[in-house]
Symmetry: C2
Subunit: 134 residues, 2 copies
Amino acid sequence: MINPPPEVAGYRQLAALIRAEITSGRLQPGQKLPSEASLQQQYGLARMTVRAAVRLLRAEGLAEHDRGHGVIVREPPRRELLTPPAGAVIAARMPTAEECIELDMPEGVPVFEVSTGGDVSLYPTDRWQMCWPG
Amino acid sequence: MINPPPEVAGYRQLAALIRAEITSGRLQPGQKLPSEASLQQQYGLARMTVRAAVRLLRAEGLAEHDRGHGVIVREPPRRELLTPPAGAVIAARMPTAEECIELDMPEGVPVFEVSTGGDVSLYPTDRWQMCWPG
DNA sequence: CGAGATTTGTGCGTATGTATT
DNA sequence: AAATACATACGCACAAATCTC
């Protein structure tokens, strides 16, 4: 190769640029990111590199894909208060694709797994939080 | 088998096959998955398709990449009991890449975000769970 | 309503770099 | 040193969903 590999992968650098746009507020929730094609042109990258960057942002819960439309900056989560029953065990994990559909939630958002006895309930963590009693 | 219907994306079908191997116990924790190259040959898929399938499994916390070695089936998490201070607010989200390094955790695992006053602590959800008091 | 443009989703091929065995 | 395996990155094509006119 003519150019030595960058210290940080290109898609991570691009993700950092876009992340800064979001966290600084220059890109507001609900707004569309530049299209993959325009990001390719602007930075001279392959589409795969651009998509890898956006995938990182989605994994962090910052953005959301909308097929045929674009990539949207996600709303900062407004979380309601969840109060599990006494003795319930609360874990958290990533949902499966089927659970995402069933719970009507985007991929890339964890779920609370509340187990009481033999019963298990799931709560998307972008809609729920808990306040420890006492 | 995987080829004909694009009803479900090929990489999701392949992920489902491997996921069944894991959940059924035919692939034990610590064992290596077949290499990307052998999965390509076995199912006649492109490497990108195989990688997308493995990425899904990793996002579900089922597998873990070990660069230069292979893809490993993850141990089912053994979670210790976490007891937040009274009044603490508990949320959960995906960590950034920096937080993954700082907490010495693999990517694809959510974190508990425990806020008490102005203080925020993070706990990897594959190592911690909570039991609701009362 | 339809037709076309836009945008993301999926998939294949290839090449090179880096880490481990 | 060599083989193996994953990481990154370029190219291309077509499908599916959405939007605009």
